[in-house]
């Protein structure tokens, strides 16, 4: 009887430890994601103009500069709404000025993936994305966070 209690006690303790570890692990991932999203938001705000001019200069050096207004905006994932990167959008100046974000809709198929990039005039990624007319994506920026 004592042995049974001992084994049961050990199993309960191991179970609790396992639960605690799992909870901590899950929490760490969530916090990491939260910090990543916040970090991307910060980087986009902080470096948008520098990145924009960097891309413009780099393309100019290769005689491939774009003829149109450009701007760097955050990429939001559809549904999640988090900032997952940034994109340089290009188009008519008045249309580019209205763009606040690019919404990314991503799908995977086997070893392939597809990304729909939708410049939008809102900074929320809910519902069906409303494409800003006359604006497209010129570059995608992935941050190392």
């Amino acid at each position: 009887m004592t042995k049974v209690r001992l084994v049961a006690g050990i199993l309960v303790m191991l179970g609790l430890l396992g639960f605690g570890w799992a909870a901590t692990k899950a929490y760490a991932i969530d916090l990491g994601d939260v910090l990543k999203v916040g970090g991307v938001a910060f980087l986009v705000t902080q470096y948008d103009d520098q990145i924009d001019s960097f891309i413009t200069s780099a393309l100019g050096e290769r005689e491939a500069a774009v003829r149109g207004a450009t701007k760097v905006v955050p990429i939001l994932s559809l549904g999640g709404g988090g900032y997952i990167g940034a994109a340089q959008v290009v188009g008519n100046p008045e249309n580019v000025a209205r763009v606040k974000a690019v919404i990314q809709v991503e799908g995977r198929f086997g070893s392939g993936r597809a990304q729909l990039l939708v410049p939008t005039t809102t900074d929320r990624a809910t519902g069906s994305p409303d494409r800003a007319k006359g604006v497209g994506v010129s570059a995608v920026i992935e941050f190392r966070i």
């Binding site: 705000t45 393309l59 100046p93 392939g112 570059a139 995608v140 920026i141």
Partner: protein
Amino acid sequence: MGKRLRVPLIVGLGLLAALFAAATLSTAAVSFRSAERDDARVAEVLIGDRVVIVLRTSAGGYTPLERAEIVANRLRSALSEEVAAEDVQARPIPSGHGVFAANRLIVAVYGSEAAAHEASPESLAKLWRDNILLALSLPLPEEASEEEPPVEEAPGSGEAPAPGAAEQPEGPASTGQAAAPEAATAAESTALDWTGTAQKWVPIFSLEREGVRIGFAQVAGPTSQVEKVKGVAQLRLDFQRIGRIYAYIPVSTISVRKLDRVQGVSVWALADVKVLNF
């Protein structure tokens, strides 16, 4: 476990709050960007969302965009302290006119830049001064109300009454003496219509560390332009150590030596398939 989670949670939320606070503060700050006005490539300096200075010409070996960066840095530095309306001034300098904030030269206006805006250096400097004051919600000097009203240079619009100006490069230029302005940057040809709705899928070829990927891009734009697109060149760039940039360039010929960009066409969607791992 509760206490164990509470501490990192509080730290995390604190960091997040600090990041958002910093981001919010910086949105009201000074920025610069490249833009197109009157079929020409220009550089704009903004305070918040308001365009306060438009640079059209190169000067001292600096392109308009490089000059805008210099001006933006000066403005940031000047505005890091509290600035009163009387601290923002337009006054003569040996080679033209200058806009000053807190006794620091922000931008020097030379004849060639003013001419590009069909204005005199003095009137242009005053216009930019007034734009800065308006962007900072500061009152305009009394003389301004007797002259023409300041004009916010809204993106896409021409510069109505006449802005134009030149800042001078860093270094010696900051004294106000300065390098002779160069010729205006080349104007771009025709105005482009980016609003076309023609679309098509074209190949992207790129090499990545993870293996060879074959990709496709959906490009969109005016029908006549989209028809010219044969592929999309992917250019990978490293921005400082912060990020990796993938630039997508619609091209009319698939060549790794020369990028024949098709203007007016942009990328709407990307798809790729990993075909080989190594």
